[in-house]
């Protein structure tokens, strides 16, 4: 019956289907809505307006020229990069084995452990940040790299575990068994078989962790606002004190950096495959 309907539908199908362009317009509007803030920042960064505002009165590159002289930005950039790189390395070293354990072993309270690792995604970061300040005080971790890094590791590890688990779920465990039978010890199996197979998930997790850490403001603000301000913290401070478009120029640079990271990873290792 359904096939009869389908074939009659084919026969009487109108040549022009108005739903198609309508859908195209809808998709366009959605993208416009999502990208509008970015576009405005981009335009404003070239605007000669005295203050951060829209629409532009003229075009200039002076905000970009200002950036290298703004030492707070350069300092913040340095701190953020150091933190993001170390955080990425730590979450990979911790997260990948954790995901392996969660995927491959049966143990008591497995579900609880899984929820625990993923919980930072569900808790408002302001609550986490407050808790960390209170905890780090007596440990003298406030305003240190260690403090920021520990905070960022806590919020980024769920991403690495999630993406790695996704890769693991689609792998054939027989591959590992085959390698062991062929004479490989556990470490060799991990290095030569497991890791290459789950590589897309690991890379995706690492990229996300890097970007999240680089971008993170709340915990950095609470834990190290005075002593070791990261770039987002510096931006926040700058916007509080001055209202020119230098932050817009900075934002464009940051967008380009993120884009560059994504493009390079995609070119080199295939991020699209990883995030599938």
């Amino acid at each position: 019956m359904s096939s009869a309907n389908a074939s009659s539908a084919k026969i009487f199908k109108p040549r022009f289907n108005p739903a198609k362009p309508a859908f195209g317009v809808l998709v366009f509007l959605l993208y416009l809505f999502l990208l509008a803030p970015l576009l405005i920042v981009f335009v404003v960064s070239f605007a000669s307006n005295q203050y951060l505002s829209f629409p532009p009165e003229g075009l200039t590159l002076k905000w970009y020229e200002m950036l290298p002289q703004e030492s707070t930005f350069m300092e913040g950039m340095k701190v953020s990069l150091i933190v993001a790189v170390i955080v990425t390395l730590i979450v990979l070293v911790l997260g990948v084995p954790a995901a392996l354990a969660l995927d491959r072993f049966e143990f008591r309270a497995k579900a609880a452990v899984q929820s625990f690792f993923l919980s930072p995604l569900l808790i408002p970061s302001i609550v986490l940040a407050l808790g960390m300040v209170l905890l780090f005080g007596p440990l003298e971790l406030n305003n240190t790299y260690a403090g920021i890094i520990i905070g960022h590791v806590a919020i980024t590890i769920p991403f690495v575990i999630r993406t790695t688990l996704m890769s693991l779920a689609t792998t054939d465990t027989s591959c590992e068994a085959a390698a062991r039978i062929l004479g490989a010890d556990s470490w060799t199996v991990f290095r030569r078989v497991t890791l290459p197979i789950i590589q897309p998930g690991v890379i995706a997790g690492g990229v996300i962790a890097f970007i999240v850490s680089f971008d993170e403001a709340v915990i950095s603000l609470f834990v190290a606002e005075s002593g070791l301000p990261t770039l987002p913290v510096q931006v926040l401070r700058y916007v509080e004190n001055s209202a020119d478009a230098a932050v817009a120029a900075l934002s464009v640079i940051l967008i380009l950096i993120s884009l560059a990271v994504v493009v390079v990873v995609e070119r080199v290792m295939g991020l699209r495959k990883a995030l599938r």
């Binding site: 054939d172 027989s174 591959c175 068994a177 085959a178 390698a179 062991r180 039978i181 062929l182 004479g183 490989a184 010890d185 060799t188 030569r192 078989v193 290459p196 197979i197 590589q199």
Partner: protein, 374 residues
């Protein structure tokens, strides 16, 4: 007899204390160079047995001895075995040559020797020209052959095959089983082969272990398990069979040198017949097994002596075979007829059955209560 290549002694696997064992005190000896099929329905313990031999699973009790050395607790990577998985389990990030070379690399074979042995192994499976290909570019049958080459290139102590043909389509499966058997005979690799497909087992194996519920019901050559099934399960699982409950009467003589006798037996509702079975069955009830193609079916009376008259209840024509179900009293018997280009028998036609005494085999085990057909 020479020392067996593989001995399995009282091997037992229990997944949980409150469950029936998956493998229950299994004993088996495999001769050097033999291909032994572990045959049974899913859940019979055949794959568990194979994984214990491979070392991928720890037995609960019992031991595994290879070449006279106990390996029950030897780590997987020190057993020197080769295994082909149902999913082939080729390493997706390596090309064909790298896959095949993996085991040699682990054995620290020199690069030059690796190259030569990989090439020889790929030639053996007729894929010498595909060495540089990525594995996902290959067809199922090709992946299967690469997996076989990868397992055999290390000259394994035992070759373990876990349902290697079940992911292939029917035509290819038959080609591959001939090819795997040929390669196995050429390399003389002692092989354990897990399958649920009786045709595969009968075609390829030197010995078949028919498994059911964690036990070996029968261990024997293909003709033994087919012609002389020890239990109802074996007769039912391998090939098709008619089962008739028979009261065994007097022995009427020696049937052959294998120590079997001819008997007079009586089947309720059908009458008295001749049958064959091991000695000493007189006076008790046993099941009579008759293979459908050993029943003579005639559409006219008089061809055979004292045929049983019945009615055709079902006709199944598949081109090269013609199977009929014949109702005689409260029994339904399955039989095979030769196909001809003439008219097919029709449901409701009269049919006359007969069989030779040597084709009616009495199961040695006492008749069991009627089980539900699988």
């Amino acid at each position: 007899m020479t020392e067996p290549k593989l001995s399995i002694v009282d091997l037992t696997k229990r997944y949980a204390a409150d469950l029936d064992p998956a493998v229950d005190r299994l004993n088996m000896e495999v001769e050097e160079g033999h291909l032994v099929a572990l045959l049974g329905p899913s859940g019979c313990g055949k794959t568990t047995t194979l994984r214990m031999v491979a070392g991928l699973m720890d037995p609960t009790a019992g031991s595994i001895v290879v070449d006279g050395k106990e390996i029950t607790h030897t780590p997987v990577n020190k057993r020197g075995m080769g295994m082909v998985f149902q999913s082939y389990a080729l390493f997706p990030h390596m090309n064909v040559e790298q896959n095949v070379a993996f085991g040699l690399e682990m054995r620290q074979v020199t690069k030059a020797e690796q190259k030569a042995r990989v090439a020889a192994a790929l030639d053996m499976v007729q894929l010498g020209h595909l060495g540089k290909r990525q594995t996902k570019e290959l067809s199922g049958g090709q992946q299967q052959r690469i997996a076989l080459a990868r397992a055999l290139v290390v000259e394994p102590t035992l070759l373990l095959l876990d349902e290697p043909l079940s992911n292939l389509d029917a035509k290819l499966r038959e080609t591959m089983r001939t090819e795997i058997r040929a390669i196995q005979q050429r390399t003389r690799a002692t092989t354990l082969f897990v399958t649920h497909d009786q045709d595969e087992a009968l075609d390829m194996a030197d010995r078949i272990a028919v498994m059911n519920g964690g036990l070996i019901e029968q261990f024997g050559s293909p003709t033994e398990v087919y012609e002389r099934p020890r239990t109802h399960f074996v007769a039912n699982f391998i090939g098709q069979a008619n089962f008739l409950a028979a009261r065994v009467g007097a022995e009427t003589g020696r049937a052959n040198l294998a120590g079997e006798s001819h008997y007079k037996v009586e089947v309720d509702g059908l009458g008295q017949f001749g049958a064959i079975g091991s000695t000493g069955l007189s006076g008790s009830s046993h099941e009579l097994v008759i293979r459908p193609h050993r029943l003579n079916v005639s559409l006219h009376p008089g061809a055979a002596q004292a045929p049983l008259a019945g009615t055709i209840e079902r006709v199944s024509y598949t081109g090269d075979a013609l199977a009929v179900a014949v109702r005689i009293g409260d029994q339904q018997l399955h039989a095979q007829m030769l196909t001809s280009s003439g008219d097919l028998p029709r449901i409701g036609d009269a049919a006359y059955l007969s069989w030779a005494a040597d084709d009616a085999y009495l199961l040695p085990a006492a008749a069991q209560p009627v089980r539900l057909a699988a």
